[in-house]
Amino acid sequence: MSTLWQEAMLEAFHETSLRIAHLLPKLMALLTFLALGLAAGWLVKLFFLRVLRAVRFDALCERFGLGSSLAKTGTNQSPSHLIGRLSFWLVFLLFAFMGIDALDLRATANMMSLIIAFFPEMLAAVLLLFFGMLLANFIAEAALIATVNAQIQEARIIASFIRWGVLIFTAAMVLTQLGIAKEIVVAAFSIMFGGVMLALAIAVGLGGQTIARDVLEQRLRRRKVEKVEKDNISHI
């Protein structure tokens, strides 16, 4: 009885020791990857910060209105700092996934290959998002200035429409690029865009026929009067 008990104990101890011996190097590998990830992430962040500062990236973003847009969202960091942080987390996560892969767990098998396969899509999506935001701000700013100079009272509404239009279009492109609910995004965008156009057409063409006529008449008449007023002096 005691021999059997001893054997069972020893076997269990042996197996656990073997498992631990088998797992320990993997755990060590995970910790090493995490430490390397921290160091590499920090270096990459530093590199990006230096390069972006050298090319005056923050000033460029400010010029395209991105800085003020970020400030509106409550972010009190500069665009270069945000990119630096993003690059840190990207590198760190890359190393972390390598570490998890090294654990050789059944649940995380093939994760690295999946992530690496998905990486170009993600990079393209991030770039799309960045340039979409730049474009939205730039066009909205140009529209705001032009409409204010034309003394159109709805200048801010028009500029907001343009900004959100470009941003929604960008978001749809980003989601399509990432392959997230591709069909739903395309369908939702088409329905929304088509819906807005149809609503406008119905509003102008049928529902607000009289109002539209009045507005157009007023506008054209006012423009006629204003043109005479505008031409009173030559500014140059």
């Binding site: 000033a59 140009a142 204010v148 100079n149 034309a150 140059i236």
Partner: protein
């Protein structure tokens, strides 16, 4: 082959062996059949009075007229005045991120290519004087040559800028920004009026050709916006010629004001970058020689809708504030914000605040705080505010009152120049 080489080859083929040419008359045209004949006749009559023995060449740079303008010029010039013709691409070389279209009252698209062609021929022929006259003029007389040509030929003047009698508030962009700012920067009391006719020495024509203004960012601004500034900043012998009232076909009135402003002010700000060494050390200002009859302020013009201008300013204050916050210094912005509380009839834009505003815009342009076209166009409501203030201040008075206000503004620009120079150095 470069553009200038092509132009010179074309002209040389047409000229043959003509010997020495002393005076070049440049006429940029585009469908000017209706007006060009009297222009050429008045010019040739004027030359025969001023320098009857001089050898003259008439060069017509045409932007692709379909109404036989070049043929009319040839006929009008007659056998005594040899003519040469060049065709240039109308605005064909202008492309880039800044989509400002070079504007001109002459109605000639790509006018700078025409000027470049005249200067090229002037340099190759080593002429003594080069006169450029717009073909759409109706007020040109033979006396203009006396004013534009004689000072160059006989007194060694390099540049004769045009000066016109204008209705009371005409040219307010020039009077509120271009003239006072240029005067404070470069120290010459030139009125910076543009268009219709210019007189250049051969030396200045070569200098223009050598300057980096024909391509790149500078090329996006109309040539009339920088001709005077370059001549003044380069230290040439500059002068003004009073040419009376300007009457011509075609006008810029239909063009959007913000585009005009971006062109004229943009050219000035752009040249500030290149001529920093010149304007930084300059203080005060001195008058320049003037030819022709003495300058006099113009008569009462048409009624101006001041309320609309004030409304434009107030809308700018309401909608463009986030943009102005980037451009203007906090104290300038505070001053402008307080103007929004005043009733239209009592609206006044103080000269010192206006000067500070313009200097802030120049600094923001220099620092590239905002996309440059947006920055320049966002100045429009502020300019409307200042113009409205000028009109409200002087509309009950005599025409000389406007001149007095402009002079005070110029002196304020000069006095406050250290505000610009100090901040420019640290930006």
């Amino acid at each position: 082959m470069t553009m200038t080489e092509t132009v010179w080859r074309e002209v040389r083929e047409q000229l043959g062996d003509r010997g020495k040419i002393e005076v070049l008359i440049g006429i940029p045209t585009f469908n000017n059949a209706k007006t060009v004949e009297p222009v050429v006749k008045a010019v040739t009559a004027g030359i025969s009075k001023v320098c009857p023995r001089a050898s003259v060449l008439v060069v017509n740079a045409d932007a692709g007229s379909q109404d036989g303008t070049p043929e009319i010029i040839k006929q009008a010039a007659g056998p005594d005045y040899p003519t040469a013709f060049v065709q240039h691409l109308a605005g064909g070389f202008l492309s880039g991120p800044i989509s400002l279209h070079a504007l001109s009252e002459s109605g000639v698209p790509g006018r700078e290519h025409a000027f470049r062609a005249f200067f090229t021929v002037a340099e190759e022929l080593q002429v003594k004087a080069c006169i450029v006259i717009d073909a759409n003029l109706r007020s040109l007389t033979s006396d203009w040559m006396e004013i534009l040509l004689r000072p160059v030929i006989e007194q060694g003047v390099d540049y004769v800028a045009p000066l016109f009698r204008r209705a009371r508030y005409e040219g307010s962009l020039t009077n509120c920004i271009i003239y006072p700012l240029s005067r404070a920067l470069y120290g010459k009391q030139m009125r910076y009026q543009t268009g219709c006719g210019y007189g250049f020495s051969g030396k200045l024509a070569s200098l223009y050709l050598a300057k980096n203004v024909w391509e790149g960012e500078a090329a996006h601004y109309g040539i009339d916006s920088w001709l005077t500034t370059v001549a003044v900043a380069e230290g040439c012998e500059v002068s003004q010629g009073f040419l009376g009232t300007k009457i011509h076909d075609g006008t810029l009135n239909g063009i959007e004001l913000s585009l005009l402003l971006a062109q004229a002010v943009g050219a000035l700000f752009h040249l500030m970058e290149g001529y920093q060494d010149v304007w930084e050390g300059s203080t005060g200002s001195s008058p320049v020689p003037q030819f022709g009859p003495p300058y006099e302020p113009g008569p009462e013009g048409a009624a101006v809708n001041v309320e609309r201008m004030v409304r434009g300013f107030q809308q700018g204050l309401r909608d463009l504030l986030p943009i102005w916050e980037i451009i203007l210094a906090p104290e300038t912005l505070d001053g402008i914000l307080s103007l929004g509380l005043v009733e239209a009839e009592e609206f006044r834009f103080p000269a010192a605040l206006w000067v500070q505003t313009i200097y802030d815009f120049a600094l923001a342009y220099h620092e590239k705080a905002l996309h440059r076209e947006h920055l320049l166009k966002s100045l429009t409501p502020l300019y409307l505010g200042r113009t409205a203030s000028l009109i409200l201040e002087t509309r009950e008075g005599i025409p000389e009152d406007v001149e007095r206000v402009i002079e005070t503004l110029c002196e304020t620009f000069e006095r406050m120049k250290p505000y610009l120079t100090k901040r420019w150095r640290f930006s």
